[in-house]
Symmetry: C2
Subunit: 195 residues, 2 copies
DNA sequence: GCGGCATGTTAGCAGTGTAAACATTGACGA
DNA sequence: TCGTCAATGTTTACACTGCTAACATGCCGC
């Protein structure tokens, strides 16, 4: 259900006491701040200030800062997945899987703080067995690996291959973000590493 | 030069106004706290409190909290490297390189907060070219890869292979720490992923 | 029209990192 | 031997944080 089903004719004026859709505005502002500030210097109060609302108004929509971050993380996760899907669709061929990997790294480099947040604030995604993985990126991963290995592959084989592929792109992204590796050189190597 | 060259006959009593080696005590206490609390809830004031010293005394030894963290990160990096070396030495054979990878993951799982800190608070380690890498772990990595590829390998080849190997273990460690992956299943797969 | 409830507000608390001013003391030169 | 000085502590204070409690406003359904 839409969060704001019956707010159609709410006032939108900026000076209105009631905001209209404060929750969405907070998420949007926080996402925008994450493009500039990093996670540990993102404050509830600043988000509220920028939206033009008192700090404690946030608590009408999120029980705690952590829950706001969780909402951001979910958005980030979805964005990441969509970007991977688009990249795969563009490729069409059997390079589609590799394209999702490249898209993963590209997303990390484009939105470092959001990318990090995604992995801090959301639990267990991939596990062995039939059950679908949680979250679009993990789900895409499992599907492509299953496809690549063929129907005769065991759960264990699928899990191992998926874990390996994910580790590779995740590690690469993280090492570049954390400046553990010469950035320019590493970026030039992305294709060769993922290949 | 040793930081405390002429403090041999300083008082060590706990009620002494001067501490003796406060810097070391702070680092030790902070490291110990990192085994229990995670980074964002590690406070300067608590470290100082536990050492029995006022909060601002810290600033006689570190310009800012960030600099204390940097010192911790350096210790962590050294510990990680030593553990990798020990693992390699135990193996002796040509599986030595793989053992450094396993040690890397083991260290991350054993000291998650310190491990994370290492990569937040220290810049550029690995880059292409003759220059030795910065930090023991990156240096070991480069050496083993060079050894494995033989003398005829180009700088680019060495860099690509090292980057790939590092990404693999780093990603695996991070995904497990961030609970993106079923922990038990992933731990059982470590050998297969690194292999 | 009106009452209630969702959604805002202000005030205040405990905790943080850090700067400034002051206190203590161990080591060294007279 | 002793006085001074630099190193290393302390207290106080500030701006900021996340968060709770008590109060204010105004949209919605009756």
């Amino acid at each position: 259900m839409p969060r704001n089903a019956n707010s159609v004719n709410m006032k939108k004026a900026k000076d209105a006491y009631h905001h209209g859709d404060l929750r969405a505005a907070l998420v949007a502002e926080a996402l925008s701040l994450l493009e500039k500030r990093d996670l540990e210097q993102l404050s509830l109060r600043e988000v509220a200030r920028n939206v033009g609302v008192s700090a404690t108004a946030v608590y009408r929509h999120f029980p705690s800062k952590d829950d706001l971050l969780k909402a951001l993380a979910e958005r980030g996760l979805a964005m990441l997945g969509e970007q991977q899907q688009r990249a795969a669709a563009r490729a069409e061929g059997r390079t589609a899987f590799a394209q999702t990997g490249r898209a993963y790294v590209r997303f990390a480099l484009a939105h470092p703080n959001l990318f990090r947040l995604v992995f801090i604030h959301t639990p267990a995604r991939l596990r062995p067995g039939k059950g679908s993985a949680e979250g679009l990126p993990a789900s895409l991963l499992k599907d492509y690996v299953t496809l690549g290995l063929g129907a005769k592959a065991s759960d264990e084989q699928v899990f191992a291959a998926a874990l390996r592929a994910w580790s590779l792109v995740h590690g690469l992204a993280m090492l570049i973000l954390d400046e553990q590796v010469d950035r320019k050189a590493a970026e030039a190597m992305i294709d060769r590493v993922i290949g």
